[in-house]
Symmetry: C2
Subunit: 389 residues, 2 copies
């Protein structure tokens, strides 16, 4: 089975490519290195040093004897998309290739527009290319749990049966995303659903929670295979950031009340979920939706777990929430479909957190303290970015 | 009160500008003449000859002594948007300035991408400019009833109370749009709702039905003031197109079963609704949604009414539906909010239809028969456009 991983040089794209390669899939990665460019733009680096894609692929070959093909180009470039898909002729395409930071999308107008155009046009090109080249290709698209926002009712997996004035229908779950980035994913979801309906495409939309961790069975085979680890306020996710703060002994910064609750999952579960999606392709004309997370925690719970894993040697400090989001809210999001397909979750534990803190400690000399605190505010239309030391 | 009409050179933008000008508003129109460019691209023209914007404005001044200011530029050009809004300093902005044809958006990838980028980026620029320059400016945005699709439950005005597993919430009404154009409007709606929430903007989203008619009290004051009248398969709407077919004695072409039902309204009601929206601004932080139509008809009902108005001298012929849409469906869309504000609808009648047929007859020598039949198919990713005579 042949799989293209779009965004295959990124935090999750790279480990996904290795995981699938190891499990016998013929894998190609596609990337335009935009994620590395964002590092340059923001003046930050992955905490764990990462190699260039060429070196990564060469080392993978040297260590395992397995080949990963690479295509360097941009999904917003129609001819590149058509050429790549025609040439590799995949059975499935895993689509990570989007600007994925909410704060980045909220810097100012330019970044909001970049995020929506990059994500929406890239995905539109992909839909057209699949429809034209081979409508049987299964599109496995990464969405986000953030598409749903925090409604006062249970969050279902993509669709909800609504009874209204004595009639019933199953409809797309109403979305209330919380940033221009999250909005771009909602736009994608609507476009994909439509393409499935008119052209009979097959798509699985994975509404992923917040991913934590950095090591997978494949990336630990050689230092060259490491994936990136972001702890900065723009691209870092909450648990990873807390672990870095614990490693360097600065207070864990909780935004606002800390009662905001989010679905989360281990990086290893991301890989397993992607494969489950590939192994169970959507029907022709169907956009299947899975909520891809394993546990829900409030930010305060996460902070306390990290504090405990750090043997209470770190403080928790509340800072003003840079986002506009509900501080207190109901949260009950369904996530049974991937479990039904056989997902065996790696649950969050003290040992897992200790492991991430140890990893951060090993690279603590690379931590840029100025990069940790948020400078991008949702209420402002223009944020002045930190001056990096 | 000062109002900017974006897309003020278009089918509805121009009559709206005149209507507001006549009623004492200080009006500026903004346009980039993209609609006129689409005519050149498609090789079709408005059935009723239209003058250039400069002439239109000069004649309006000559006839009424009223001044309409004009700004020529593109909403996707950020600096133009900021400059224009800063200079004119409006109380309200009426936003018609989007690519508005579903078939046009379905021609091929280029047109789908153009439609979504043009509409989404233009509206994003507008939201940022309003937030930066004066968040009190009331944005009156044209959406479409086509955003809702044809669910099996009643369509509410923008939001719906959902009871689910014993809990309740009022949520955005789930959208199931039927073209890349309609999708662009859904993307806009999500972006606008978010901007209202984070920046406290005021917006009214008008989900408009299919508009018919061409004459308003203002446009009939002088031939130079006429607005465009589209009957072609790409930009023409159904009732106007049927009237032209009746005028030239060719069968009224019903797409598919003809049982597709749509909300409709007279062009004069569009103008009244826009003013009602302006006079009743949304609260700070609120995106108010009105369903802007007055009556619902099936395509077959419309065809029969036109046939009767033409004294049964025209046939109705069913052709294959170029769209992917439900042929039989429930349709009960609420539209009480504008009535509650005082809208007095012009209902569709034999006399109204006769009037449109007469108008079409007057210009029947300008009808391009090749332009009437649909050449753009939803199931195809690339449509070969007609060869114009």
């Amino acid at each position: 089975m042949k799989v293209i991983v779009l965004g295959g040089d990124g935090y999750l794209g790279w480990p996904t490519a290795l995981y699938l390669s190891k499990r016998g899939y013929k894998v190609a990665v596609v990337d335009n290195f935009l994620r590395r460019h964002y590092d340059d733009e923001m003046g930050v680096s992955s905490l764990v040093p990462i190699e260039h894609l060429q070196r990564r692929i060469a080392t993978w070959d040297a260590v395992t004897g397995l080949t990963i093909k690479s295509y360097v180009g941009d999904l917003t470039d129609e001819s590149f998309v058509y050429k790549t898909i025609s040439e590799f002729n995949p059975d499935a395409i895993v689509h990570f290739a989007e600007q994925r930071s909410a704060p980045y999308s909220m810097i100012d107008r330019d970044h909001a527009v970049h995020t929506q155009v990059n994500n929406v046009v890239g995905t539109l090109n992909l839909l057209y290319a699949i429809a034209d080249i081979n409508p049987d290709i299964h599109l496995v698209k990464l969405g986000t749990m953030g598409e749903y926002g925090t409604p006062n009712i249970d969050i279902e997996e993509g669709y909800i049966e609504i009874e209204h004035n004595g009639r019933k229908d199953v409809m797309p779950y109403p979305k209330q995303p919380g940033s221009f980035y999250h909005l771009s994913k909602v736009h994608d979801s609507h476009n994909i659903l439509f393409a499935c309906r008119i052209w009979g495409l097959r798509a699985t939309d994975l509404n992923q929670g917040v991913v934590y961790g950095q090591e997978t069975d494949e990336t630990i085979l050689h230092p060259d295979l490491a994936t990136r680890f972001d702890y900065d306020a723009v691209f870092g996710t909450v648990l990873n950031r807390f672990c870095v703060q614990a490693a360097v002994g600065v207070p864990l910064t909780v935004y606002g009340s800390g009662n905001q609750t989010r679905g989360m999952l281990n990086i290893r579960d991301t890989l397993a979920c992607i494969e489950l999606a590939i192994l169970n392709p959507a029907e022709q004309g169907e956009m299947r939706v899975y909520n891809q997370f394993t546990e829900s925690f409030s930010i305060n719970q996460i902070a306390k777990m990290v504090q405990q894993a750090a043997d209470d040697k770190v403080e928790i400090s509340q800072i003003e929430d840079p986002r506009v989001e509900a501080q207190e809210h109901y949260y009950n999001a369904k996530h049974t479909k991937l479990l039904d397909l056989g997902l065996l979750p790696h649950h969050l534990s003290k040992a897992v957190i200790k492991n991430i803190i140890d990893l951060a400690s090993k690279h603590s000399n690379r931590v840029d303290h100025l990069a940790i605190n948020p400078t991008i505010g949702w209420k402002k239309t223009k944020s002045v970015l930190m001056t990096v030391k």
